[in-house]
Chain length 332, copies 2
DNA sequence: CTTCTTTTTGCAACCGGTTGCAAAATGTTG
DNA sequence: CAACATTTTGCAACCGGTTGCAAAAAGAAG
């Protein structure tokens, strides 16, 4: 069906090598030859088979893009940025949807079968061991939105979730709240654990502040709403640091439905600064996660690793900052 | 680096063909041989190179997933369903982000270079010619969420947007609104055109109904909000059929900010029934688009085409229905 | 134990490219 | 124009698999 190298060679009356060389840059071809081959190729509508060439060159330009966050709207933005960034560099994202699976084994095998040049694990909930499995298999890997660590075993690009937790606690305390709480995402997500740890570490410095915590079932609107309804029914705190924006928005909905006001009765601070947070009818005060920078940096790191697979692992941590909107009362 | 067929063959003391056959089902291998080979493969950690085998079999199990809707939250759900559905059938999605590009040429070339077995074009805004370009290149293609047609040239799976427009108009009229309007997405999107056409065709039957229309710049919150603010400033209709849910939510935000009430002052009906539409603080009356069925059916069709590439093109159109929530006043 | 049938196995060619090497062509210099 | 350096080209082997075909092995029948 498709036109092959051989056919082009025959039509141009040259050797197959000549055709191959016209299509690999840096190869030695005379101008005359190049013109002859290009004409033949154009006539036949030839374009080289990337997979066949990968056999000898050992490069497919395929990059596995592995994620389990197909329900958090912020990841649509992440996918947008990743796919565009990879495409711009001539790389092709092979998307892998992990759903509930947290065992890397299958993904590793599959992606090796397709000889991907590298893998980006884009998830804030997977354990560090997941990304490590790719490294152990000899595949360059970057864990985006992964758990930061002072001694990373694989390349990690993301934020310091512990610091974010601390920052949220400080913000609440600075605004004069005396009874605050952490409403996390799933307890087994590394990002939840870290944010909580940071939050606690700050609170503990202020013995006068009353603090509590609980966890929603998922990083989702429904889970946030449900959990907040439960909390309101019990003894709600004055302000909550919610595990992420989508959870926050669920919580806001619950508060509104309970005829309580934000921020007068209950304050909320989220994390991510997703597009929706700035929608006027949501107007969520939140901690901005620099997604664009994280993705760009992840891609740069991946590209660097393609040239230098044994690059010493590093953690690239981007600072976050609070975006003041309408769901926390102003500092006194 | 990676273990090859040959090494397994040597370790097991058998021919390369034998190894190949143990890994292709339906091939003739004795139990004894299979055990020997599997042992050697396990010892070495071998798994076959999918790309190499694709050279001879002519099948890569790669499916191009082409889209330009990376800003509409509903597409995260679409990607989730597609990736899972394809994976479950042993197919691998190669994601292509079209951004602003509407010329299929590059995508066609790239996806042919990677010898994809098929292409799914998932977009409600691309012209039918886009998908057709793949067919012309000899690649099986399904256009999901594409424009329906009585004489489709490629396989189309989606909804009847004209009928949806009609349905929306009927709903508004049935609720006693006498001044209604269509607030569309980008005017050049096929879905906008069709929805508008349907809307008009119904309105025209009711000479007593006053109707107007306008278009937002994009299918986005901001665009919807901006357009609605403009409309409120002029002479707003009593009720709007918005081009899609995200546009509707933008419009709702504008209405709320203008101290008007929904549905008392202005009614809104959207289209898609995205997850967010049922969030209690949005509670959008909308036309449900059966995404799950569309995706499932698209995948089934794609799988069928892999066996039968010249399958006669068909349009699979799924009915939509109105989901009653809080943004339209009840019928009198 | 033959003889015939069926299954299993290996050989070798092939899929669509790339690349080291040496021969051929071209360019440079005296 | 000869002698040498440089560039261009083709040959042939290879990348990691698959597969048609015929030989070898195993099983069934007599």
């Amino acid at each position: 069906m498709a036109v092959t190298l051989k056919e082009v060679a025959e039509r141009a009356g040259v050797s197959r090598s000549a055709v191959s060389r016209t299509f690999t840059d840096g190869a030695s071809v005379s101008d005359k030859m190049r013109r002859k081959v290009e004409k033949a190729a154009r006539d036949l509508g030839y374009s080289p088979n990337a997979l066949a060439s990968s056999l000898t060159t050992g490069r497919t330009k395929l990059i596995g893009l592995v994620s389990n966050n197909f329900h958090n709207p912020i990841f649509l933005e992440v996918f947008d940025l990743f796919t565009r960034g990879l495409q711009d560099r001539g790389l092709r994202p092979l998307l892998v949807n992990l759903t509930d699976e947290t065992d890397p084994e299958n993904s590793v095998r599959m992606l090796r079968q397709y000889s991907v040049d590298g893998v980006v694990v884009a998830s804030s909930t997977l354990p560090p061991g997941f990304a490590k499995a790719f490294r152990d298999a000899g595949v360059p890997v970057v864990h985006s939105f992964g758990r930061s660590s002072s001694a990373p075993q694989v390349h990690v690009v993301g934020i310091d979730n512990v610091e974010c937790g601390r920052m949220a606690a400080q913000a609440l305390i600075a605004r004069g709240y005396t009874h605050v709480a952490f409403m996390g995402g799933p307890e087994d997500a590394t990002s939840t654990q870290d944010r909580f740890a940071g939050f606690k570490s700050e609170i503990i410095k202020h013995p006068d502040i009353q603090a509590s915590h609980s966890f929603a079932e998922a990083y989702s609107f429904e889970a946030g709403r449900k959990e907040m309804l439960r909390l309101i029914d019990a003894n709600p705190a004055q302000a909550y640091f919610c595990g992420d924006d989508v959870l926050s928005i669920g919580a806001l909905s619950a508060i509104e439905d309970s005829n309580l006001r934000v921020p007068e009765d209950i304050g909320i601070i989220g994390l991510n600064d997703m597009e929706m947070a700035r929608w006027e009818n949501i107007d969520l005060t939140t901690i901005h996660q620099p997604i664009r920078q994280i993705v760009t940096s992840s891609i740069e790191l991946m590209v660097a690793m393609l040239d230098e697979p044994d690059r010493y692992p590093e953690a690239r941590i981007f600072p976050c900052s609070i975006v003041e909107r309408g769901t926390l009362r102003p500092a006194p």
